[in-house]
Amino acid sequence: MASILSLQNISKSYGRIDALKAVSFEVPAGSVFGILGPNGSGKTTLLGVVMNVLRPNAGKFDWFGQQPGEKLRRDIGTLLETPNFYHYLSAKRNLEITASIKHKPWDDIDRVLKIVRLYERRDSKFQTFSLGMKQRLAIASCLLGDPSVLVFDEPTNGLDPAGIAEIRQLITDLARNGKTIILASHLLAEVEKVCTHVAILQRGVLIRSGEVKSVLSQEEWLEIGSADLTLLQEIAGRLPGVKSILVSENHLQLYFDSSPPDAGWMNRHCFEQGVALNFLALRKKSLESAFIELTDNVSN
């Protein structure tokens, strides 16, 4: 897959604080690329650098394999940090300015306002909008001209649960249509639900990047229970590939060298061994625990 964005050793400091330390990664075309990290990890700084509002101290980057420039940015829809519009102008007039800067036709404005459900409020001034409406207008401005690349920095900020679900659906739909989406977020659930790739930042350092399933490996295990836990533990101990068994009050947690066996097979196997299971579940480590484990390992 060709790279949409390629970063090579990007460093950025504010005085004595290193916001980014030699960060390098590639964003593949057609991916939904999550930039994940706690607050202050350097996500917004990184996006600020690639959108030319912050000057890196070292390193370089390119968009679409070319030197970054104003014309390339016109084909990228970007929401960085906060929705930035002229407060005294209406939604529509603000988008006319954005469309003019991007050299996109004005007749696309109604379409994007309808997508974010602001069409009815198109003539209202930006200063009268709620935080959620401002955020939706910013997303509408990103969609102007149907760009092939979208950059969203915390896109669900200020949105209510219904708004969050809508934006998540919108991102999924955009990705399905082949758009490349770069999404910075500190919300793991957001990344888990929509991203195909991820880069994890912590205190300006890139901890890992790649496909979500390889970066944030989510270990699986089986939980089983029966009336006779001692016999069940004996049977479980003889299973091929079992790595460890944790005994809790009323069930066992079975960890395997590789993927756990199929739950159906497990149920049949225990029954054949004379034990009827009264509990059987396949568990998966949450993305949150995987993330904390990863960042803790680096910190230590």
Binding site: L80, L89, I97, S100, I101
Partner: protein, 270 residues
């Protein structure tokens, strides 16, 4: 050229429906002739007349009007400056100076079109001054127009330079401070502060270098126009000998400010 006009059109879209912009501009357009009328009335009616002529001479008649109106308009320089500071600090308050770059302008394009906006506003205010000059010149003309009517037209150029100099100082403060109220406050403080330093240094230490400070040097382009006959010939000759220097130094400041404003915007974090 097409790209340039396109960029200029975007700036027009920003102000076209901005009520504050039009109100402040209207204030400038009304106040320059109105303030001059107050001074005209004062000079015409408040002083004793000798042989039917005012003691202060005929400052509003051609060709003197070309220096009188710009001099008076210079006192109101803070009015267009408020407008310019508002237009610049708006971009910072709304963070649209970042968004315009993100959306597809280069930093150079953004700052240069903003500086062009300042230049166009300065030209517009100068045009208002020219029209005010013509109004008062024709109002007070007692004889047929002659080619001497256009003498001293150079003061219009001097006013333009003075106005541009002040406007760019205001832009520097607007860029550094980023908040409209504070930037205006600091600008006025600087205006008064520089005048204080100039007065103190000149009177107490006979220093002449203070004549070349950014605002003082452009103020000196247009000497006070009233009761010229009462001003010593030495002072008039001194001004004539130095006015080219004042002009060149003012232009120098304008170029330095343009360079600094452009350099800072292109090189710093936004």
């Amino acid at each position: 050229m097409v790209e340039f006009l396109h960029t200029l059109r975007v700036e027009w879209l920003k102000v076209k429906h901005y009520r504050t912009f039009w109100i402040l501009l209207a204030v400038v357009v009304v106040c320059i002739p109105a303030f001059n009328y107050v001074i005209y009335d004062f000079t015409d009616n408040s002083f004793p007349k000798i042989n039917g002529k005012s003691l202060l001479g005929t400052p509003f008649a051609f060709p003197n009007v070309w220096s009188t109106v710009p001099y008076n308009a210079g006192i109101l320089v803070f009015m267009p400056v408020i407008l310019i500071i508002t237009l610049f600090t708006n971009e910072y308050s709304f963070r649209t100076h970042r968004q315009n770059i993100i959306d597809g302008w280069s930093r150079s394009r953004f700052i240069h079109i903003k500086l062009l906006e300042v230049l166009l506003l300065t030209l517009f205010v100068t045009l208002v001054v020219v029209l005010t000059c013509l109004y008062f010149g024709f109002l007070t003309r007692k004889e047929a127009p002659s080619k001497t009517s256009w003498e001293q037209f150079r003061f219009i150029l001097f006013y333009f330079v003075e106005m541009l100099d002040y406007s760019l100082i205001a832009v520097v403060f607007a860029m550094l401070i980023r908040r409209a109220g504070l930037a205006m406050g600091i600008f006025f403080l600087y205006m008064i502060g520089e005048q204080f330093v100039v007065s103190l240094s000149r009177n107490k230490y006979k220093a002449t270098w203070v004549n070349y400070l950014p605002e003082e040097v452009s103020d000196r382009l247009i000497p006070q126009p009233f009761a010229r006959k009462l001003i010593s010939p030495e002072n008039t000759a001194y001004w004539e000998n130095h006015v080219n220097g004042y002009f060149l130094v003012s232009i120098g400041y304008i170029l330095i400010f343009i360079f600094l404003i452009s350099w800072r915007f292109r090189k710093s974090d936004l």
